[in-house]
């Protein structure tokens, strides 16, 4: 499989990264280099092999579904670029 310019632009759009024509052209070569490199995985026989989901065999720690934290609205918005009365402000989404 190889990546063409249209694919690079589509993936950039999915990743929400604006790319110039020049960036996209450069990325075609770079991404193909990496894809070629990872392609060798297809030669591994994985018949009957389960995909890894957890690197250590352990049960996920669980806790009661109860509120343990909160009342930190000021802290949560403290680092946001634009806020108003503890809301994050974004460009208008709904007309």
């Amino acid at each position: 499989m190889s990546v063409d310019l249209a694919t690079v632009k589509r993936v950039a759009r999915l990743a929400r990264i604006a790319v110039s024509e020049e960036d996209a052209n450069r990325m075609v070569g770079e991404l193909n280099g990496i894809i070629d490199f990872v392609e060798q995985l297809s030669e591994v026989d994985v018949t009957g092999v389960e995909p890894m989901t957890s690197v250590t065999p352990m049960d996920m720690r669980k806790r009661q579904d109860a509120v343990t934290d909160g009342d930190k609205a000021d802290d949560i918005v403290a680092n946001a670029p634009v806020t108003d009365r503890n809301f994050f402000l974004v460009p208008k989404v709904v007309e």
Binding site: A15, R16, F37, V44
Partner: protein, 493 residues
């Protein structure tokens, strides 16, 4: 009197304990050294001298009142990936511009609880993506080591390049670091320092900026094996805030030093003898084998047949997880925002301006391998191969091997702005060829300096252990250190 900054953590602990020195004096010595020399190395992104002096003063007061933590009064550098309350935390990225968290990471909190002093935040590859510390928004870090008779600036390795350089140049007593594919062990090897990536789950990931969540682990970079053992004991904890933090007691790692390796079985995997490996690396490996044999260990040849697939599998799994983790940087909740004509345009422009080239490249790869139609061929296949890589290690350990000895890196430190590496991302990725298997299998791995190459640059060996058997690694690495000695760069700065 010896320079205070030349003391190891263990030596400083001793002198602080006998009141020969104070935490204030020790910290001041580091603050002055950073003032004088950080410009040369670019190891720190932000320094916090006032906070450091306050913490040192408080430490001396605690000591006077009889309360002495395991790292009481020890000045440390913190990789910029760890959230530090009210202090610059940007993963060396432009996209987290101005971010000062309102919380403290578990690992750093553990250090402060044990009495340590923070000197500042250390440079790194952006979001820990890199093997040379050249992808940082804050510019490259310079390795304190130079080849004999050469003035060329070398990289300290990455991604924990600031941590490794600061430790080697004595700009901190020890440093925190993180390792996703080799980011502790490779820079440790390039700077003649000791770095350990513990077993996945040993150190809490809470409050550490995420790169690839199933691979990321924190660990120390230190001047010697003992210091690394002291630091890891404080960094590790059982943390309810991280569901992958493992519920096992933390041993006294330092107690393992000096224990005999007699009768231990050390595996030598033939697959780590890669094409074009410099003779010096092979010689170093043989030297390490001889050190352990002399100490009474039994050397056995082993096979880890899926080794060559670890790096390609890593370059699917890690970017896939990164593309998901880094989706949060959208110009809304923190960091940089670049305005656009609508919300999607704002996202795209913010991310285009905020992420560097290597980070964008990995997000793109990750997005591609997870996209409709490719998931099975790439991501699922890589996760299956990962199962096989882990199984290779399990079979070796099951056959009685206690630890595995390999080179840490395929070369010594290379030059800043190396043209061949800049032109070929995959060539740079090959730096992690010996270290990445360990992350894929969640195992502990330590890099310990074992010699110098012909150019006078440090080379490291890696020991790989069974899950949660870091003690075995410290014990064995200590034997290598005792035999090989320690390596300090000539002070040209």
């Amino acid at each position: 009197m010896t320079e205070l900054t030349s003391l190891t953590i263990a030596e400083a602990r001793e002198k602080l304990g006998t009141k020969e020195i104070t935490a204030v004096e020790l910290t001041k010595a580091y603050v002055d050294a950073i003032d004088a020399f950080n410009g040369t190395f670019n190891a720190y992104i932000t320094t916090t001298p006032e906070k450091a002096m306050e913490m040192a003063k408080a430490s001396d007061e605690r000591r006077a009142s009889g309360k002495v933590g395991a790292l009481e009064g020890i000045p440390l550098g913190i990789k910029d990936l760890f959230a530090t309350e009210g202090v610059h935390t940007q993963a060396a990225s432009h996209i987290l511009d101005g971010f000062k968290p309102k919380y403290e990471s578990t690992v750093t909190q553990n250090l402060w609880d044990d009495g340590a002093v923070m000197l500042g935040k250390l440079n790194m590859d952006e979001f820990a993506m890199g093997s040379s510390n050249e992808t940082s928004f804050y510019g490259p870090v310079i390795n304190p080591w130079k080849a004999e008779g050469s003035n060329q600036q070398l990289v300290p390795g990455g991604s924990s390049g600031g941590s490794a350089a600061a430790v080697a140049a004595h700009l901190c007593a020890g440093a925190t670091a993180t390792d996703t594919g080799g980011s502790i062990r490779q820079p440790a090897a390039f700077t003649g320092t000791v770095g350990i990536k513990p077993t996945y789950g040993r150190c809490s990931r809470w409050g550490t900026v995420a790169f690839a969540s199933s691979l990321d682990q924190a660990g120390p970079i230190a001047r010697d094996v003992r210091d690394a053992a002291i630091m890891l004991k404080s960094m590790a904890s059982v943390d309810k805030k991280d569901t992958t933090s493992v519920d096992l007691p933390i041993p006294d790692y330092e107690a393992a030093l000096g224990q005999s390796v007699k009768g231990m079985k050390i595996g030598i995997p033939k697959e780590y003898r890669v094409d074009n490996m410099p003779e010096e690396i092979e010689a170093l490996w043989q030297q390490g084998i001889a050190f352990l044999k002399d100490a009474g260990a039994e050397i056995v040849d082993i096979t880890l047949p899926h080794t060559k697939y670890a790096l390609p599998a890593y370059y699917i799994v890690a970017p896939a997880e990164a593309s998901s983790n880094l989706a949060r940087y959208d110009g809304v909740r923190y960091g940089l925002r670049v305005d656009g004509k609508d919300i999607a345009d704002m996202y795209e422009k913010t991310r285009a301006a905020g992420f560097g080239t290597e980070v964008k490249r990995r997000i793109m790869i990750g997005t591609y391998v997870l996209s409709a139609g490719y998931y099975d061929a790439y991501y699922l296949q890589a996760q299956k191969v990962r199962t096989l890589i882990k199984r290779d290690f399990e079979l070796a350990f099951h056959a009685g091997v206690d630890a595995i000895l390999t080179p840490a890196t395929p070369s010594s430190a290379f030059g800043i702005a190396d043209e061949n590496l800049a032109a070929d991302p995959v060539a740079m990725y090959l730096n992690d060829i010996f270290t990445v298997t360990v992350n894929m299998a969640g195992l502990p791995g330590i890099a310990v300096p074992a010699g110098l190459d012909k150019k006078g640059l440090p080379l490291g060996l890696q020991l790989i252990g069974k899950p949660f058997e870091e003690e075995t690694l410290f014990r064995t690495a200590y034997v290598i250190e005792q035999a090989a000695g320690k390596f300090t760069p000539a002070k040209w700065w």
